[in-house]
């Protein structure tokens, strides 16, 4: 067959749909190939580094070799004399600070005062060849005054030996404190019949996208155009405007084909600003592609988080109160860190009904690459702690851990004690599915074999934007002209299939198939806003915007067709490429004649559901996905090696717009969760990454990844497009705790620290043999000077009945 179009959906024999809502869907719910599948499998997708316009200059960045140092002088004269070097810039050329969050504008594209981690950018060269640019970087002479680096959470809590990493934040090297209490926690503990405390550590790890970050800029007619491997064209646009001091209308940011993000391309990056500046200076295209080593140092990945949790329960295992503390090793800059800190305490309540809840969080600055959002952003770490903590409580009480968790599941359509609004919730069904499929309850005991269970939840998009504004979070325009349909949307397809989601929704509404739809996406000049591919927001938000725009377009087509056929518009069917008795093309020509230029627009703004307290903006989402997971493994008591045999996972996605893509997201999440649970580790020695290469930074290969059996659970959320919720992040979360629960099941030792390496397993077994606690994990939680908690009244019971339209 030919590569375009790819096979259409199976022809449907069900009766045609008539206007308005109907369950009889022709495209939505079908396992269709992605709209760009042929482009991807033929190697024709154009990623940023594939672009090489005439006269392109190559950019290399000189980076700090020291984790912490003052810059005394920078001498670029020798570099400038090298033949082929066209421009050299330093921090003096780009002095304005930027950062993803308005409250932490603490980064410079090039630093000229102080470096804060190995890899901090200092100078950049544009040259005719990449090798010349690299040689010129070597010829730049930088004088440093080396400072004592701060390399751990413990060190960051002490007074610095030389000076602070950043000159803002809390005491010593504290960046951010959070201290909130919802309901009466002391009263909750006083009612408890059993109280338990545990300490956990989740090591940091990184995204490891297959594509290194890359950006290329041009400067033509006074306008900058930047193509980048980014998840957030809009936020890059804003950062460029600020640092380059150009109005937004002089800058265009286009998302190139994207070779993997996972949160790692969600900040505006130095190299994006640098190539734009160099293009402005040289008048030539300038490209910068990071080396793999630079990608490890660019990071913005999973925060290492130390956690302490104390929970009170009744004899039956019902939670009466919980107190959760976190300490995040943030690295050298703010990045998303303030949000990450809140996230380590926000979503515990979205899976379990916790009547009184206290959260104290703390993020510190250290002289390491900045941490930020990675798949699950700040929530896999507390999920790991929470699930294992409840496993231990169940064993204290002699209860089955699955039963104990089930007794505490949140109810659909409820409010949590910290004001989060829960709508559809498939926790029970997800649990049922993996229990039945895995045979967890009836597993036969054999030495070294174990099974573990865990659940999780994640947001379908953050309910608030990164910078305060009242504008929609996503907008879609549709143009129909002589039968052709083009959809314009700022959403960035990073491989998850957001283009296919947009095409599917518009096709569904217009009675067409996805290959009939042309897409223009992720281009700040030609498409309306979408905030970007982060927080699992695109299907829900861009999907709703597309739905609104498509329904408006359908109404015009139906009105024109109905007039032609002298029929009531309500009786005009839109299906299988026809509008009533007319072809889509005939109807579009009639509508164009009737209305003039045929355009429609839709937008999505999340409901205002945040609670009435400072910090309530992190956590609310228009809907939460739910997952349940069982891991089956064999653990070798002699070597400590853990071999995962199979993972069963059920995911409540609301509705699968395309089940093939949902499965892909779930499988990829499980794989990434296993990598984090077993081997992935972003660790440092004397400021240097211990293993900044793909060989040494272990990630699961084809041989390490077990069979993954996925169950899609559809709860049809009332506010999602066709009921859809997120799929790209939530299914990662239950995997690490389920794995650790399975290791306990197999060997009787708790590994309270991710990743579960063979050394840790062997050490825990050794301790067990010696009669010490059968556990490997952090011995204690540090003393942290959290500020007094802000007490927040729980939401009134009748809140949603009174104020929200659920």
């Amino acid at each position: 067959m030919t590569e375009n179009p790819l096979p259409p959906a199976r022809p449907s024999t069900s009766p045609a749909r008539r206007g308005g809502e109907s369950a009889d869907l022709k495209v939505v719910g079908k396992p269709l190939p992605k709209v760009d599948a042929a482009t991807k499998v033929t190697g024709r997708a154009v990623y940023a580094d594939d672009m090489l316009p005439a006269r392109t200059l190559h950019c290399k960045i000189l980076r700090s070799p020291h984790p912490h140092a003052r810059i005394l002088s920078i001498d670029t004269s020798a570099a400038r004399r090298i033949p082929g070097v066209i421009a050299v810039i330093t921090g003096a050329d780009l002095p304005i600070k930027f950062g993803i969050l308005p409250v932490t504008q603490d980064e410079r594209a090039l630093e000229h005062e102080k470096v804060r981690y190995v890899g901090d950018p200092i100078a950049a060269v544009a040259a005719t060849e990449e090798e010349i640019a690299a040689a010129a970087c070597d010829a730049i002479n930088v004088e440093y005054e080396v400072l004592e680096p701060v390399m751990s959470i413990d060190a960051a809590l002490q007074p610095p030996k030389d000076e602070r990493v950043q000159d803002y934040g809390g005491p010593n090297n504290v960046h951010k404190f959070v201290a909130l209490e919802f309901g009466d926690v002391d009263d909750g503990f006083s009612r408890a019949e059993h109280v338990r405390e545990d300490v956990f550590f989740f090591q940091g790890n990184t995204h490891l996208p297959m594509e290194q970050h890359s950006a290329i800029a041009t400067f033509v007619d006074g306008k900058v155009t930047l193509w980048s491997s980014t998840q957030v064209v809009h936020y890059v646009h804003r950062a460029l405007s600020k640092v380059l001091e150009l109005p937004m209308n002089r800058i265009r940011v286009i998302g190139a084909a994207h070779g993997g993000g996972f949160g790692g391309k969600t900040d505006p990056f130095a190299h994006e600003i640098i190539v734009a500046k160099l293009a402005m200076l040289t008048g030539r295209p300038v490209k910068c592609t990071l080396s793999r080593e630079e990608v490890f140092y660019a990071h913005r990945g999973r925060h290492p988080v130390l956690m302490w949790v104390r929970t009170g329960v009744t004899r039956e295992g019902r939670i009466t109160a919980m107190h959760f503390r976190s300490a995040l090793d943030g690295g050298a800059y703010g990045s998303y860190g303030v949000a990450s800190t809140f996230y380590t305490g926000a979503l515990q309540t979205v899976t379990y009904d916790i009547p009184a809840y206290r959260f104290e969080g703390c993020r510190v600055f250290t002289n390491k690459p900045p941490c930020g959002p990675k798949r699950g952003h700040g929530t896999p770490q507390p999920r790991f702690a929470l699930e294992l903590h409840l496993e231990k409580i169940a064993r204290d009480l002699g209860l089955d851990p699955v039963d104990l968790k089930r007794r505490n599941f949140v109810k659909p359509y409820s409010r949590t004690v910290n004001w989060l609004r829960v709508t559809s919730c498939g926790l029970e069904e997800c649990t049922e599915r993996v229990m039945n499929a895995s045979g967890y309850q009836d597993r036969t005991r054999r030495a070294g074999h174990g099974m573990g269970f865990a659940i999780s939840s994640y947001m379908s998009g953050a309910g608030t934007a990164i910078y305060w504004n009242d504008m929609p979070h996503s907008e879609v325009q549709i143009k129909v002209d002589r039968g052709g349909i083009t959809v314009f949307c700022g959403a960035m397809d990073i491989g998850q299939g957001s283009d296919s989601v947009l095409a599917s929704i518009v096709a569904e509404e217009l009675g067409l198939q996805p290959p009939d739809i042309r897409l223009v996406t992720a281009d700040t000049d030609t498409t309306p806003i979408d905030l970007g591919s982060y927080s699992s927001r695109v299907t829900f938000m861009a999907g709703n915007a597309a739905l609104e725009a498509a329904r408006k377009m359908r109404a015009k087509l139906v009105e024109a067709a109905a007039a032609k056929m002298s029929r009531d518009p309500a009786d005009v069917e839109v299906t299988d490429g026809r509008i009533g008795d007319l072809s889509f093309e005939e109807a579009s020509i009639l509508a164009e004649a009737r209305f003039g230029t045929l355009t429609s627009a839709g937008s999505y703004t999340p409901p205002k559901i945040a609670g009435p307290f400072k910090g309530s903006g992190v956590g609310p989402s228009p809907a939460y996905s739910y997952s349940a997971c069982v891991v089956d493994l064999d653990a070798d008591a002699r070597t400590g090696l853990v071999r995962v045999n199979k993972v069963w996972i059920a995911h409540d996605v609301g509705r699968a717009i395309n089940p093939l893509l949902v499965e892909g997201q779930v499988e990829g999440s499980v794989y990434m969760g296993l990598g984090e649970a077993l081997m992935e580790e972003q660790a440092f020695r004397k400021g240097l990454h211990k293993w900044p290469s793909m060989l040494e930074y272990k990630s699961p290969t084809f041989l390490d990844t077990p069979e993954i059996e996925t169950f899609i659970v559809e709860t049809v959320d009332p506010e999602g497009p066709y009921g859809a919720k997120e799929a790209g992040q939530g299914p990662l979360l239950p995997v690490p705790p389920a794995l650790c629960a399975a290791v306990f099941d197999a060997l009787g030792v708790w590994i309270d620290e991710i990743p579960v390496t063979p050394e840790k397993v062997v050490e825990a077994l050794r301790r067990k043999e010696k009669g010490e606690p059968a556990r490997y994990g952090p011995p204690r939680f540090p003393s942290i000077p959290y500020p007094p908690v802000i007490k927040v009244e729980p939401p009134p019971k009748d809140l949603d009945a009174a104020t929200a339209a659920i």
Binding site: M1, T2, E3, L6, P31, P33, K34, A37, A38, T39, K40, V41, T42, G43, R44, A45, Y47, D49, D50, L52, I82, E131, A135, A136, D138, A139, L208, P209, M210, E211, Q212, A257, H258, G259, G260, G261, S291, R292, I494, G495, Q496, G497, L660, L661, E663, G664, E667, G668, S669, V670, Y671, M672, S693, M694, L695, T701, F702, L703, T705, I708
Partner: protein
């Protein structure tokens, strides 16, 4: 370490047989096959993930066998048949592996896909009906961060079935 910058760059005339088309090129002798394919021949379907031979992303076929183009110098393979992803389809007809990868969603971001397609093509030529473990073994040198590998395994099996029914 300081790089040498004022040396003479030695260039060499190469005849490369890529996807059945012979081209003559004058390139610096130290350029890798990956760089020559991407920069001198504009065959950007071949991707790079590390340029150190660690990730498998830049896999091409040399005389039908998978090789890492980031570790090969073109002068080493003068005259041998090179296949890149651009050479897999016949005209606008997708190769059965490409078709299966497209249908089953085995390409998400698509960046590792060309290398995995070529390694799979070589596997199926040697072993038309591989078991799942044989596919895993053959592709173990190719990393993918999106798919969890599941749909790739299913796609290779689907293609194998269609090619050899």
């Amino acid at each position: 370490m300081r790089r040498e910058i004022d040396r003479e760059v030695e260039r060499v005339v190469l005849t490369l047989d890529v996807n059945g088309e012979k081209s003559e090129l004058l390139v610096p002798v130290h350029k890798t096959l990956l760089e020559v394919l991407r920069e001198d021949m504009q065959l950007t379907g071949t991707k790079h993930g590390c340029e150190l031979g660690e990730c498998g992303t830049c896999t091409v076929l040399v005389d039908g066998k998978p090789e890492l183009s980031c570790l090969l110098l073109p002068i080493q393979i003068h005259g041998r048949a090179i296949t890149t992803v651009e050479g897999m389809a016949s005209g606008s007809e997708l190769h059965p592996l490409q078709q299966a990868f497209a249908e089953l969603g085995a390409a998400q971001c698509g960046y590792c896909t060309p290398g995995i397609l070529l390694a799979s093509k070589s596997l199926l030529e040697d072993n038309p009906r591989p078991t799942r473990d044989e596919i895993r073994e053959a592709l173990a040198g190719n990393l993918c961060r999106c798919t969890g590998y599941t749909k790739i395994l299913q796609a290779v099996e689907l293609a194998s079935g269609r090619m050899h029914d």
